[in-house]
C-alpha cells in the first residue's frame, strides 16, 4: 500500500478519533479520586473499542481468504486496517492511563508495540520493495523481467534441469569425458597412415580423452556442424599423388554418423566443478556475481570449438536467469517476510488481551 494522497481522509479520520478519545479521557480523568484507569467507565469503553478494532484488524487475514465475498473493497479493508490499527495504540494508552501496570499488562504493552512496529515496517517495505523490483530487474532474452512469485521455485528447478540438458547435449554425458575435438595439421600425413593424420592440437587442453581423438577423426567432420572453423573440422587426408597403391582409400560417401559431441569436455568440467552447485543452489558460487560470470563464460568459450559456443551462450543465459530469479526470490521473501512476525504476534496479542479482559472483568465485578 502506497502512502499517497488517497490516504488523507483516513489520516484525518484517525486523527480526529484519537483527539476525541483523548478529550473524553482528560475530561473524565479529574472526576476520579484515584485517577483515571482501565476500570473506569471511560477506560473500560476505550478498552472495549480498542479490542473491537483489534478483532477487525485481525479479520483482514480471513477476508483475504475469500477475496470475492461482498465484504467491501480490499483497499478499504487494508486502509482501515492500517489507520485504525494505529488508533489502537492511542486507545490502549488512554485505557491504561499511560501506565505499564503489572507484569502481564507490561507484556501486553511490549506485544502491542511489536505488532505495531512490525506493521509499520511492513508498510515501509511495501513502499520500497515493489519499486526496487520494478527498476532493478531487467528483461532477459528468454524471460520477462519478473515472474509470478508462485512460480519462481519451479522456474529455478527448470533452470537447473535445462542447464544439465544443455551440458549433456554438448558434452555427451556427465559421467564420462567428452571426446576432444581433433584438429588439422599443416602438412598431410603419410598415405600409409591416413587416419593418424589428424593430430590433436589446441585449443583443447590435454585431457585423457585426447588419446582417443585420432581414432575419432573421420567422424568429426560429420559430427561437427557446418559452422565449424578449420580448427574444428577434420579434413579427410588426401592420398599422396604418386603413390601407386592407395592403401586406405577414403570410404565412399557414407551416411554421416552421429557420434558423441566433440570438444564439449570443458563444458562438462565447468558444469561439474562450478555450474551444478550454482544451479542447484548449493553454497556460494562465483556465478552469482554477474561480472565474474561474464569472465567465466568468456574463458569457457575460448576453450571450446565454435559449434559449442551456442551451448556456452545458453548456459550463460540460464545462469543469468537463475541469478534474476534468485534476486526476485530474495526480494519476495523480504516483501512478505515481515508477515511471519506480524501475523502470529497479532493473534498472540489478541489472545493475551482476551485473557487480560477476562481476569480484569472478574476483578472489576468482584470490586
Amino acid at each position: 500500500m502506497l502512502l499517497d494522497a488517497k490516504q488523507r481522509p483516513w489520516i484525518v479520520a484517525t486523527s480526529l478519533l484519537a483527539v476525541a478519545a483523548t478529550v473524553v479521557y482528560f475530561v473524565d480523568a479529574p472526576r476520579h479520586l484515584t485517577g483515571p484507569s482501565g476500570s473506569t467507565a471511560v477506560g473500560l469503553t476505550l478498552g472495549i473499542i480498542a479490542y473491537g478494532i483489534m478483532l477487525f484488524c485481525a479479520a483482514l487475514g480471513l477476508k483475504r481468504r475469500v477475496p470475492h465475498w461482498r465484504l467491501g473493497r480490499a483497499q478499504t479493508w487494508l486502509r482501515a486496517h492500517v489507520w485504525l490499527g494505529l488508533l489502537i495504540v492511542v486507545l490502549v494508552a488512554l485505557h491504561a492511563a499511560f501506565a505499564l501496570g503489572g507484569p502481564f499488562t507490561a507484556a501486553l504493552w511490549v506485544m502491542l508495540i511489536l505488532v505495531t512496529v512490525s506493521g509499520l515496517v511492513g508498510i515501509f517495505i511495501q513502499q520500497s520493495i515493489p519499486r526496487v523490483l520494478l527498476h532493478s530487474l531487467r528483461p532477459l532474452p528468454s524471460m520477462n523481467p519478473e515472474s509470478p512469485a508462485q512460480q519462481v521455485k519451479e522456474m529455478i528447478a527448470d533452470c537447473s534441469a535445462q542447464a544439465e540438458k544443455t551440458v549433456i547435449q554438448y558434452a555427451g554425458s556427465l559421467d564420462k569425458p567428452a571426446p576432444v575435438m581433433p584438429a588439422v595439421v599443416a602438412a598431410p600425413a603419410a598415405p600409409a597412415a591416413p587416419v593418424a593424420a589428424a593430430a590433436p592440437v589446441a585449443p583443447n587442453p590435454p585431457t585423457p580423452a585426447a588419446a582417443v581423438a585420432p581414432a575419432a577423426a573421420p567422424v568429426a567432420a560429420a559430427a561437427a556442424p557446418a559452422t565449424s572453423t578449420a580448427v574444428a573440422t577434420a579434413v579427410p587426408p588426401k592420398p599422396a599423388a604418386p603413390a601407386p597403391v592407395v592403401p586406405a582409400k577414403p570410404a565412399a560417401p557414407a551416411a554421416p554418423k552421429i557420434g558423441p559431441p566433440m570438444g564439449g569436455e570443458p563444458v562438462r568440467q565447468f558444469y561439474l566443478e562450478t555450474g551444478r552447485a550454482f544451479w542447484a543452489g548449493e553454497g556460494h558460487s562465483p556465478l552469482e556475481n554477474p561480472t565474474l560470470a561474464v569472465s567465466i563464460f568468456a574463458a569457457l568459450k575460448a576453450q571450446v570449438p565454435l559449434h559449442t559456443h551456442q551451448g556456452v551462450d545458453d548456459l550463460e543465459e540460464l545462469a543469468a536467469r537463475r541469478r534474476q530469479l534468485l534476486i526476485q526470490r530474495r526480494w519476495m521473501k523480504a516483501l512478505h517476510g515481515w508477515l511471519i512476525f506480524h501475523v502470529p504476534l497479532s493473534w498472540g496479542f489478541i489472545v493475551a488481551v482476551a485473557v487480560h479482559a477476562v481476569f480484569a472483568l472478574r476483578y472489576w465485578g468482584a470490586k
Binding site: K6, V66, H68, W69, A74, L78, L133, S147, A149
Partner: protein, 600 residues
C-alpha cells in the same frame, strides 16, 4: 458430422461424375476438391439420408455439372442421378445465384454442385461436425438451431465457508440472463439466432454453411428440414466463383440491406430520431464498400463526395503535417466520417485508412501463426442523399454541425499541441494497448505480488479456472497482464466455427458453453489473452442435459477461456475488487493514455 452426400469420390464402375482432367487445370483442381467432401454413395446424407444407390451412367464419362440425388423414399435408399446434357446448365442458370456464372466456368467445375432433397424433419447437418460445403435453399424451408450441450460448471467446494460464501458471495446481476437472452448468436447462415431462442427458419433463396465451405470449419448449427425441401450443396471451388459473381455479392448485400441495415442506421448518433421514411430512403439508396486493412478510404484534400458509416472494423483518422502524419483518432463500428467535407462542400480535411492490430503484435504473438486481418466494411451515403437529408431534416443538420465543429476543434487542438497519438510513447501503439477498451493495468510500484487478483479471479468463476495471468508486456510502471483487453477490433471473433465467442453489449468477450475447443480464437488473439484449458482443469464440469448428448453433443478435450470482465457481478472485475493495494485497475486505454499525456 457425416458429410451430406454430394457425388461419390470413387464411384463404381465408370459412373464417376468427375472426369479425369489434366493436372493443374481448374478441372483437375476442382476434381480433387470435389473428392474431399464427398462421402460416397454409402455414406448417410447429413446424418439422415441413408446410403444412396448409384446408378452407373450408360455413356462414357462426361463432365457433369450437377449431380441430382433423387427423392428419398421410405424404404428406399435414394438414388444418385447425374445429368450430362445441356439441360443441366440451364437448370443451374435458372437459380439466381448462378445466373451470371459463365457456362465455360460451370463446365470447368464438374461435380461441385449437388441437388439434394430432404424430407420434413431430416437433419441436413449437425452442429460441431466437420463440413466443407455450403447449402443453397432452392425449395422449402429449413430450421437452423444450436443445441447447447455443456452446462456451466458447478462449484464443487462445500463446507462451512461455502455456506457463508453462498450468503456473502457476489451475486450475479439479475438482468444478466435477460441481457443474454436478447443478444444474438452469429452463426454460419444469413440470420443471427437469438440467445433466448436458439433457432430460426431459413427460406428459399437463402444460404447456410458458407464458413464451413470456405475454411473447413465445423458446422456452427444443426439444420433440419422444416418442410420437404430441395437444396443445392456447393463445394468450395464453385462457391469461390459465386463470391466473385456480382449477382451473388449483390444478393448478399441485399440481404444485409433488408435484414440489418435499418437497425444499424438507427444506431448512428446523427440519425437519432429520424423518421422511418428517412431511414427507409437511406436504406435503399446507400452503397456497401469493403476495404482491406491499410487501404486509404478517403484522402486529405480530395473532393468530398460521400460520407461513410463503419459497419465493421476500424478506421484510423490522420492528418499530414510537416514532419510526418499525425493520427487524430481511431473510429469503430457505428462511427461515421466524411461528413465534414460534404457539409461545407469542401475537400477532405483528413485521411481515413482501414486499420488493423499492429503488425508487430499480430506477427509474433503466436509462433508460425499470423492472425487474420479483419476487413473494414462501410456503408456509403452519397452526396445527393446527404444533401437531401440535411435539407429535409434540420435536426440532422444541427447535429452534424455540432459534430463537425467538435471535430474541427479537436483537430486544431491536436495539430497545435502535437496531437495525442503523436505524444503517446511508441511502445503503447506497438503493444497494441490502444486497442484496449477495458485494459487491465497493474501498477508495479504499488503491487506487492500478493496474488489476490488471481485468487479472486479463480474464486469468482464457477469453473475454477483463472482468466488472469499475471505476466505480460510492460509499459512504464504498468504490467499489462494476459487478460482480455476488450479490443476495439476483437479479431478473436473471426473464424469461430460455432459462434461461441461473442461480444456482449457491455463490450465484454464471452465464450459460450458450446465452445468446441478448436482454439481458433486463442490463435487469433494477438495478445495471448485467450487460454485453452484441458477440460479436466474445470471443476465439476459435466453434461447437465443428458438429452443433449443423445442429440449428438460431444465432450470436447479443451475449452477456450476468456476474461468476461466479471460483468455479471455488481462490483465489476473481481481482480480489481480484491486488490488491497489499489494496484490493479481497468481503463479505457485511449482515455487513460490521453490523461497520462496531459499530465505530462
Amino acid at each position: 458430422m457425416a458429410e451430406p452426400t454430394p457425388p461419390p469420390p470413387t464411384p463404381p464402375a465408370g459412373s464417376g461424375p468427375v472426369p479425369p482432367a489434366a493436372p493443374g487445370t481448374p478441372a483437375a483442381n476442382s476434381a480433387a476438391a470435389a473428392t474431399l467432401p464427398v462421402a460416397g454413395a454409402g455414406a448417410p446424407a447429413g446424418g439422415a439420408v441413408a446410403a444412396a444407390t448409384v446408378k452407373p451412367p450408360a455413356a462414357p464419362p462426361k463432365q457433369k455439372i450437377i449431380t441430382v440425388i433423387t427423392d428419398f423414399v421410405e424404404g428406399d435408399e435414394g438414388e444418385t442421378e447425374t445429368l450430362d446434357d445441356p439441360a443441366e446448365i440451364s437448370e443451374l442458370k435458372k437459380t439466381d445465384i448462378f445466373a451470371d456464372i459463365a457456362e465455360s466456368t460451370l463446365l470447368m467445375l464438374p461435380g461441385t454442385v449437388a441437388r439434394r432433397k430432404f424430407r420434413t424433419g431430416e437433419v441436413i447437418c449437425r452442429e460441431g461436425e466437420g463440413g466443407t460445403t455450403a447449402f443453397y435453399i432452392a425449395e422449402g424451408e429449413v430450421d437452423i438451431s444450436i443445441k447447447s450441450s455443456v452446462a456451466s460448471a458447478k462449484q464443487t467446494k462445500g463446507g462451512f465457508l461455502a455456506a457463508i460464501g453462498g450468503f456473502l458471495g457476489q451475486r450475479r446481476l439479475s438482468g444478466w440472463q435477460a441481457r443474454v437472452a436478447s443478444a444474438l448468436v452469429p452463426i454460419d447462415a444469413s440470420v443471427d439466432l437469438s440467445y433466448g431462442k436458439l433457432a430460426a427458419t431459413l427460406k428459399p433463396g437463402e444460404m447456410f454453411g458458407e464458413m464451413s465451405c470456405l475454411s473447413r470449419a465445423p458446422r456452427s448449427a444443426t439444420v433440419t428440414a422444416r418442410t420437404n425441401c430441395v437444396l443445392l450443396e456447393i463445394l468450395r471451388p464453385m462457391y469461390e466463383k459465386l463470391l466473385a459473381s456480382k449477382t451473388f455479392k449483390a444478393k448478399t448485400d441485399e440481404k444485409y440491406r433488408d435484414r440489418a441495415l435499418a437497425n444499424h442506421l438507427r444506431n448512428v448518433a446523427i440519425f437519432d430520431g429520424l423518421p422511418e421514411a428517412a431511414i427507409e430512403r437511406l436504406r435503399t439508396t446507400c452503397e456497401f464498400v469493403t476495404v482491406e486493412p491499410g487501404q486509404v478510404i478517403i484522402k486529405e484534400k480530395d473532393l468530398a463526395d460521400a460520407m461513410f458509416i463503419i459497419r465493421l472494423g476500424q478506421v484510423r483518422v490522420s492528418k499530414a503535417l510537416p514532419g510526418g502524419e499525425l493520427t487524430l483518432a481511431y473510429m469503430t463500428k457505428g462511427d461515421c466520417f466524411g461528413e465534414l467535407g460534404l457539409l461545407h462542400n469542401t475537400t477532405r480535411s483528413t485521411t481515413c485508412t482501414a486499420y488493423d492490430h499492429p503488425k508487430s503484435v499480430t506477427g509474433t504473438a503466436r509462433v508460425g501463426y499470423k492472425a487474420k486481418p479483419s476487413r473494414v466494411e462501410l456503408v456509403k451515403i452519397k452526396q445527393t442523399e446527404f444533401a437531401w437529408l440535411v435539407n429535409e431534416y434540420p435536426a440532422v443538420k444541427a447535429r452534424l454541425e455540432t459534430l463537425a465543429k467538435s471535430r474541427t476543434d479537436a483537430t486544431e487542438s491536436a495539430v497545435r499541441t502535437g496531437g495525442f497519438y503523436s505524444q503517446v510513447p511508441r511502445n503503447v501503439e506497438d503493444l497494441g494497448l490502444l486497442q484496449g477498451q477495458g485494459l487491465l493495468l497493474i501498477d508495479l510500484e504499488k503491487c506487492t505480488r500478493c496474488d489476490q487478483c488471481v485468487q479472486a479471479c479463480v474464486e469468482s468463476h464457477d469453473d475454477g479456472v483463472t482468466r488472469l495471468v499475471r505476466e505480460g508486456p510492460r509499459h512504464d510502471k504498468y504490467l499489462v497482464p494476459s487478460r482480455c483487453r476488450m479490443c476495439l477490433d476483437p479479431v478473436c471473433m473471426i473464424g469461430c466455427p460455432v459462434g461461441s465467442i461473442r461480444r456482449t453489449k457491455d463490450l465484454n468477450m464471452l465464450i459460450e458453453d458450446w465452445c468446441i475447443g478448436c482454439g481458433i480464437c486463442a490463435k487469433q488473439c494477438p495478445y495471448n489473452s485467450i487460454q485453452m484449458h484441458d477440460r479436466s482443469d474445470f471443476a465439476g464440469l459435466e453434461i447437465r442435459d443428458a438429452k443433449a448428448k443423445e442429440r449428438g453433443a460431444e465432450d470436447r478435450e479443451e475449452k477456450a477461456v476468456v476474461c468476461d470482465q466479471c460483468s455479471s457481478l455488481p462490483q465489476g472485475p473481481a481482480c480489481v475488487y480484491a486488490c488491497p493495494h489499489d494496484a490493479a485497475f481497468r481503463v479505457d486505454a485511449r482515455q487513460f493514455f490521453q490523461l497520462s499525456v496531459s499530465a505530462r
